[in-house]
């Protein structure tokens, strides 16, 4: 079937078409714009699931744009990893969009829907592309959209945080370009598969430059993923953004992790000389620090949004620990954790949104407030989201952490990983139970009338429940999902198959 051949590009084309349409419709026909936006999101989910089903046969498909053969033109690659990330992004996007529509967050400016779809286009493109410069371009697409979304709804505090966020990312982009320049200067190619071939052939004189290029590239991905020494932009930005947007941003840090998982085994693998496994010695300490800072942040946060932001940071740290070992088993565990951490982080933001809408002037501050409408439901959702985020049984977070512990057992440095995961989980439990009991159990009598009056529709609970249901599903289907992630990890750790699929040559 003809359409199936073009499946690789549909996740990029759909939002690219939907975004301008919603922009045109938004002024006059709001309902139509919202419908189109939702339909586009649903279509994307269908395309992502179709890609996922197709990727089941373990064949790595390349799609040459404009018909130019691989090292010369831009290629899109559809493999298990890309398909998995596409499905994750689509599931997250549809929940976030539903929440934005129900709460009316999309009506607080003209351009929510177009920006939202451009952001998805950047995300999907980054997952699919097989070319490093193209990856840079898609990063820019998703960043530019994220600047717009971050500022959506305005406010001085948001603008302040926005300036810092934009500046940090522009510096990151500059570093990205320098790394690409170095790689191109060394190998005369930016196609990832071609790079994998050319990097092996580099002479001893170029090894130093190659190492620098690799480390620079990893620094950039680390910046996107908010790896510890360069994470400071994240809590401030995410806490100032509208929670529904921050929920979508939960996957943006994972794009950085994805880019590492994609490029390191492929380009900086075992045969890359001085640059082989280039981030490995630095990633583990950074990940451990990230988990510690994240979970301590959960304990010390003063607002629910700040707490959710630290939960995102903590999950990235926990996720990078198994990734930094660069083995098939640990990578499989990491991929499972990646899916659940993204959904759990987003769920925390949505629950924070629902809660702060009902608490009037108390907003999301973790202080006792009078009883508010829907408090029990919000408290229950918060409990479930917190259990998932911190990794307690019975939810997927626990399964993910167990998988990480199991996979890393026996590998050099496993004691540190075990100690960090177990200790930080305890800190996280204390943090979440402290804030949960303050938020939903303690009562303050002041302003009780004002808050009792702020009655809101129970439809607001739909999107958080959707996300939490996905988490429950992820727990129930853990067996199936882990076979998926294992197959994905096997595919990722076998770069020669990737190269053969794209170039037709062998590594």
């Amino acid at each position: 079937m003809i359409l199936l051949d073009h499946l690789s590009i549909t996740p990029i084309v759909i939002p690219a078409v939907i975004a301008p349409v919603t922009m045109l419709l938004m002024r006059r026909h709001k309902m139509a714009a919202v419908t189109v936006s939702l339909a586009g999101c649903a279509a994307m989910l269908v395309a992502a699931i179709a890609a996922f089903v197709i990727a089941q046969d373990d064949v790595i498909r390349s799609y040459t744009l404009g018909g130019w053969p691989a090292p010369f033109g831009i290629v899109l690659i559809l493999d298990r990893l890309a398909a998995m990330m596409l499905v994750l992004a689509a599931v997250l996007a549809i929940s976030v969009l539903v929440h934005a529509i129900i709460t009316g967050a999309d009506q607080r400016g003209w351009h929510f829907h177009p920006l939202f779809h451009f952001q998805l286009m950047g995300l999907n493109g980054a997952f699919l592309t097989g070319d490093l410069f193209n990856l840079f371009v898609f990063f820019e697409v998703l960043l530019i959209a994220s600047y717009g979304l971050m500022l959506h709804g305005q406010g001085a505090l948001r603008l302040k945080a926005g300036v810092a966020y934009v500046v940090v990312n522009i510096v990151g982009s500059a570093l990205f370009l320098i790394a690409l320049g170095l790689l191109y200067g060394l190998t005369a190619t930016l196609n990832m598969a071609d790079l994998a071939v050319k990097v092996v052939l580099l002479g001893p004189a170029d090894q130093g430059l190659l190492r620098i290029a690799g480390l620079l590239l990893m620094t950039v991905f680390g910046l996107k993923a908010a790896v510890v020494p360069i994470h400071l932009w994240l809590p401030r930005t995410y806490a100032a953004t509208m929670p529904v947007v921050a929920a979508l941003f939960a996957i943006m840090t994972k794009v950085g992790v994805y880019a590492m998982i994609r490029t390191v085994p492929l380009i900086f693998g075992a045969q890359a000389g001085a640059a082989s496994w280039v981030p490995a010695p630095y990633l583990l300490p950074a990940a451990i620090l990230g988990a510690v800072i994240g979970f301590v942040g959960i304990l010390t946060a003063r607002g629910m949004r700040e707490q959710a932001a630290f939960a995102v940071l903590a999950s990235t740290g926990t996720l990078l620990m198994p990734v930094s070992l660069w083995q098939e088993v640990t990578l499989a565990a990491a991929l499972y954790y990646l899916v659940q951490a993204t959904l759990a982080g987003a769920a925390l933001f949505l629950v924070a949104d629902v809660t702060m809408r009902r608490r009037g002037q108390y907003a999301d501050a973790i202080v006792p407030s009078p009883h508010f409408a829907g408090q029990d439901m919000a408290g229950l959702l918060y409990l479930v989201a917190a259990i998932a985020a911190v990794g307690l049984p019975p939810l997927a977070g626990f399964v993910g952490k167990l998988l990480i512990l199991d996979a890393s057992f026996g590998i050099t440095g496993w004691q540190v990983i075990w100690a960090t995961i177990l200790a930080t989980t305890l800190v996280g439990v204390i943090g979440f139970s402290r804030s949960g009991s303050t938020l939903f159990w303690k009562a303050a009598p002041e302003h009780a009338d004002a808050i009792a009056a702020s009655r809101r529709s129970n439809a607001e609970f739909v999107a958080p429940i959707m996300l939490l249901a996905m988490l429950v599903l992820l727990t129930i289907a853990a067996g199936w999902v882990t076979t998926q992630t294992r197959a994905t990890a096997v595919q990722v750790m076998a770069p020669d198959r990737y190269v053969t699929a794209i170039l037709g040559a062998t590594l």
Partner: protein, 117 residues
């Protein structure tokens, strides 16, 4: 002085100035710093195709050596993106200044209730 030395020191000076300015506290200086850095990056990208003089960028019959056209394409894309980004940061810092009355990137924030925690 060789061409390589001149280009390399130009890039180095731009980067040094850019980093210094980008680390300053006021948005105007930060924007200038980002601009300097983007110039440095563009120069660097331009130079990665090797510094050669008087070579045609595309095919010419009687010439053996060609300049690499791809870095130029990369620079073009990078210029467009950084230009858009600079415009965005200028607008952002202006809005931020107008709304909060301070042009500090990380200075005192006058909270106006919204989102204060």
């Amino acid at each position: 002085m060789s061409l390589e030395f001149l280009v390399a020191s130009a890039i180095a000076m731009l980067v040094a100035g850019g980093i210094y300015l980008a680390l300053r506290g006021r948005t105007f200086q930060v924007v200038l710093g980002l601009t300097l850095m983007s110039y440095a990056v563009n120069l660097f990208l331009f130079a990665i195709g090797r510094l050669i003089v008087d070579r045609p960028p595309l095919y010419a019959k009687d010439v053996v050596e060609h300049a690499d056209p791809l870095p130029q394409a990369l620079v073009l894309t990078a210029i467009v993106i950084t230009f858009g980004m600079t415009a965005l940061t200028v607008i952002l810092s202006l809005r931020s200044f107008l709304e909060s009355g301070s042009d500090q990137v990380d200075g005192m924030i006058k909270t106006d209730g919204e989102g204060a925690s």
